[in-house]
């Protein structure tokens, strides 16, 4: 049978790098059952034997406070990997060993991969590997994950460990007289009763009871409530005793003693230093500039702008290729499929829908590459550090800034990669609030809608109105986040106890793997659901078709036009020539007008049209008629559809979102429209339900469809409330002659 080797260690210790080094391309990314924590698996070949390698989430400890830590220890306990490779950062030994000690207490078969040996050497840190191995009672293998040094020896040691039948017993640390006494009492009881036996060592369970570990206490309660109560009582007694005698609690004392244990190991000459240890590392020197009070924000603005520019400028070309490809596919279908519903579904439903999703792929690829660069180099942590004070006011986290910018915080952007960028946030509440508010930013697809309205009604103040729109969306998003964080996602801020990793030059291979993994997940996740929804939307805008007699009516109009035209023009039109005489051109335009009127009638008659019309009673409050309603409904597929659907609803043939001057002119001339309606629609467009690709992503990233649905309902309600308020107040005050 294939043996499992788990990789475990602190964040930034080089786990992913070693994992890639061990498994090469033979890897697979998924999720741990029921949670959104990523699970990476791969295969490592050693002397013809296959080892399954699982990359556990990076953690500093094994408490029940964070999802990652629970996932990691559950895996160790339930899946019982044949051996665990604990990656330890040699340049940061003491803190890394804190996790190692906890693995030892859990009694898992362990060996240490002492990584970053090159960094340690550079900093003048000498580690006596043999002594460390002897003191810890396990193999310790020095490696440099980045270039593969020591990899072979590591794999050999891990395999050796798998073959050794006798496992070393769990480590026993002294936690001081009081705690030791309580532990001994509890351990005896637990062993006697066979409580939670098979899964956890008895002393470990006792420790977790003293630490008030929620998960273990719940497990215990479920398995034997009476016995669990007994243990809890011992724990309470000890806690009370420590509180009265030492003003401390067991949890704190346990941590102190663990670190004390590690210190005592260190003092036995494991580490010796060369040179001046108080001198600044390169990384610290960079930080002096990069997080400087004045330069820091400037550099940050530059970097953010650079990322933005990189993502949206350089992805234009490949995005164009993808669009061209789907355009070509559409033309192919247009030319070769027989006219009818099937053709219409293939073109408007399938090809446009899937094309829309895949059109994002190059964008996402570039964005993830940029983020991976910032993340792997260590800069992203600095951004969080510098901006935390601002974002915290709104219940968010310093790391929320990237998702906001990517979603269109400056102008143009996309909420899909924005939502996915929220992965870099480790605190669950702040992350959820970020996921739910980034869609308020002005993504590239909303811009044509604004451009249309601004051109029609605020032609003189284009730039300032556009700027105002950006400001409104930021204020709205931040206030909405504040609202969510004080209602639905209430709770204290997640502690900002965060490591600032040293700056490191990322490896190109690491970046590519990182980028591709995330992009592929997007394609897989978004692709499946989206096909269904885009067919559904197509059907809503198509069925039911116009009744026979109305179709016949439009046909009659066409015949009349043809009959009244001179025969030469009709003949010329039939040749489908590119260049037409003025007379024929006029004839063609009249025919196109009939087509457009037929399309408008069909749209109004369709299910979407009927919904739009029936909503008119309500939407009038915000100044929207049925045409706007359908357009907004279409905007759920993709925001730029708002423009083209408005075009159809106003009987204009084929409105290109990039070329909206004609539609602009028509809106400006229409008595139903005025600047107030335009503002109302602008506000609605900023805040209403995100497009469905984004909704799918929110659902996936938050791990629940509930939040996807919530974002549709909440955002639309908020948007409607704002639009109605503005429209009604505006009308009341008679401003703009409303």
């Amino acid at each position: 049978m294939e043996k499992t080797v788990a990789l475990a260690g602190n964040p930034n210790s080089g786990k992913t790098t070693l994992f890639n080094e061990l498994t090469g391309a033979r890897q697979h990314v998924g999720n741990y059952p029921g949670v959104t924590v990523e699970k990476k698996e791969g295969v490592c070949l050693e002397n013809g034997a296959r080892l399954k390698v699982v990359d556990l989430p990076g953690t500093y400890s094994l408490t029940a406070y964070s999802l990652e830590e629970v996932v990691a220890r559950d895996f160790l306990v339930r899946e019982k990997p044949a051996t665990v490779i604990n990656i330890v950062d040699a340049s940061n030994l003491e803190r890394n060993l804190y996790l190692t000690v906890q693995f030892m207490e859990l009694g898992v078969p362990l060996c240490i991969a002492l990584n970053m040996m090159d960094v340690a050497e550079n900093r003048g840190i000498d580690i006596d590997v043999e002594k460390l191995s002897h003191l810890m009672g396990m193999p310790v293998l020095p490696i440099v994950a980045r270039n593969g040094r020591g990899k072979r020896e590591l794999v050999a040691a891990a395999s050796g460990l798998i073959r050794t039948p006798e496992k070393s017993p769990p480590l026993v640390i002294s936690y001081g007289a009081d705690i030791d006494l309580a532990l001994a009492e509890m351990e005896g009881k637990i062993t006697g009763a066979g409580f939670l036996a098979g899964a956890y060592p008895a002393r470990w369970v006792a420790l977790k009871y003293l630490e008030k570990d929620k998960q273990i206490r719940e497990l215990g309660h479920a398995s034997d409530a009476a016995f669990a109560a007994e243990l809890e009582e011992v724990a309470e007694r000890l806690a009370h005793h420590l509180e009265t005698t030492l003003q401390t609690d067991p949890e704190a004392m346990i941590v102190d003693h663990r670190y004390g244990y590690i210190r005592s190991l260190m003092q036995q000459g494991v580490v010796s230093y060369r040179g001046d240890q108080s001198r600044l590392h390169v990384s610290d020197k960079i930080d002096k500039v990069v997080t400087n009070r004045f330069l820091g924000p400037l550099i940050m603005a530059g970097v953010v702008f650079g990322l933005y520019h990189f993502t949206f400028t350089y992805s234009e070309v490949p995005v164009g290729w993808v669009e061209d490809f789907f355009g070509w596919l559409g033309a192919l279908a247009e030319a070769h499929l027989p006219d009818g519903l099937f053709k219409s579904m293939m073109i408007s439903g399938v090809i446009d829908g899937v094309g829309g999703v895949l059109g994002f792929v190059p964008l996402i690829l570039f964005m993830f590459f940029g983020i991976a660069l910032l993340e792997d180099s260590g800069y992203l942590a600095r951004v969080a550090f510098m901006l935390d004070r601002v974002f915290r006011v709104f219940g968010l986290h310093g790391s929320s800034v990237m998702p906001f910018i990517i979603s269109g915080g400056i102008a143009g952007g996309c909420a899909v990669p924005g939502v996915m960028a929220a992965r870099t946030l480790k605190s669950p509440k702040e992350r959820l609030a970020t996921l739910l508010t980034v869609p308020f930013m002005n993504c590239g697809a909303k811009l044509p809608v604004f451009a249309l309205l601004v051109a029609a009604f605020f032609g003189d103040h284009r730039a300032s109105v556009m700027f105002l729109i950006t400001v409104i969306s930021w204020i709205g998003a931040l206030l909405a986040a504040r609202l969510l964080r004080s209602t639905l996602i209430r709770g204290a801020a997640t502690p900002f106890v965060m490591e600032l990793p040293p700056y490191r030059l990322p490896t190109f291979r690491g970046l590519l793997i990182h980028t591709w993994e995330r992009t592929w997940q997007y394609i897989k996740k978004a692709g499946t659901v989206i096909l269904g929804i885009s067919i559904l939307l197509w059907a809503m805008m198509t069925f039911p078709g116009l009744p026979e007699e109305r179709l016949a009516g439009f046909e009659r109009q066409r015949q009349e036009i043809l009959a009244s035209a001179p025969a030469s023009s009709v003949a010329e039109l039939a040749t489908e020539a590119e260049e037409l005489s003025a007379e024929t051109q006029a004839l063609r335009d009249r025919l196109l007008e009939v087509d457009a009127a037929a399309a408008e009638a069909a749209l109004r008659n369709s299910l979407a049209g009927r919904i739009g019309t029936s909503l008119e009673g309500v939407s009038r409050l915000a100044g929207f008629d049925w045409r706007t309603n359908i357009a907004l409904l279409g905007g759920f597929a993709a925001k730029e559809v708002v423009v083209s659907t408005l075009g159809t609803a106003y009987s204009m043939s084929e409105v290109d979102p990039e070329e909206t001057a004609a539609l602009s002119a028509r809106l400006a001339a229409n008595p139903a429209w005025d600047p107030l309606v335009a503002w109302s629609l602008i506000l609605f467009t900023i805040f209403y339900a995100p497009c469905f690709v984004t909704v799918v992503c929110i659902a996936r990233e938050s791990g629940s469809w509930k939040w996807g649905a919530f974002s549709m309902i909440f955002n639309t309600a908020l948007a409607f409330a704002l639009s109605v308020t503005v429209y009604q107040l505006g009308s009341l005050s008679g401003y703009w002659g409303g």
């Binding site: 500093y60 400890s61 408490t63 406070y65 340049s91 940061n92 030994l93 003491e94 803190r95 804190y98 900093r123 840190i125 609690d249 949890e251 704190a252 941590v255 102190d256 670190y259 004390g260 210190r263 610290d284 930080d287 002096k288 997080t291 400087n292 009070r293 004045f294 820091g296 924000p297 550090f385 510098m386 935390d388 004070r389 601002v390 915290r392 801020a493 502690p495 900002f496 106890v497 965060m498 490591e499 600032l500 990793p501 040293p502």
Partner: protein, 78 residues
């Protein structure tokens, strides 16, 4: 040698932690990262808006918000 609250420490000032007066999740996270009595820390810098603070301990850099640093008492050097 004075014992002061970590929030009051100046940039580049160093000292040894003497007490951490918070429990629960925050207390645990602070301690798990090595901020326990006896650890030597140095204030490496502060964010542009003065909060959070960056600390150097045991060879790595850790950030902490001021209201989290409030729970930590340090015996400062010199």
């Amino acid at each position: 040698m004075a014992i002061i609250n970590m929030r009051k420490m100046a940039v580049d000032q160093a000292g040894t932690i003497v007490d951490i007066k918070v429990g629960g999740e925050l207390g645990r996270r602070i301690r798990d990262m090595g901020l326990v009595p006896g650890t030597r820390v140095k204030v490496q810098g502060r964010a542009p808006l003065n909060d959070p603070v960056a600390l150097r301990l045991m060879g790595f850099t850790l950030t902490l918000r001021n209201n989290e640093a409030d729970h930590i008492d340090v015996e400062v050097e010199g």
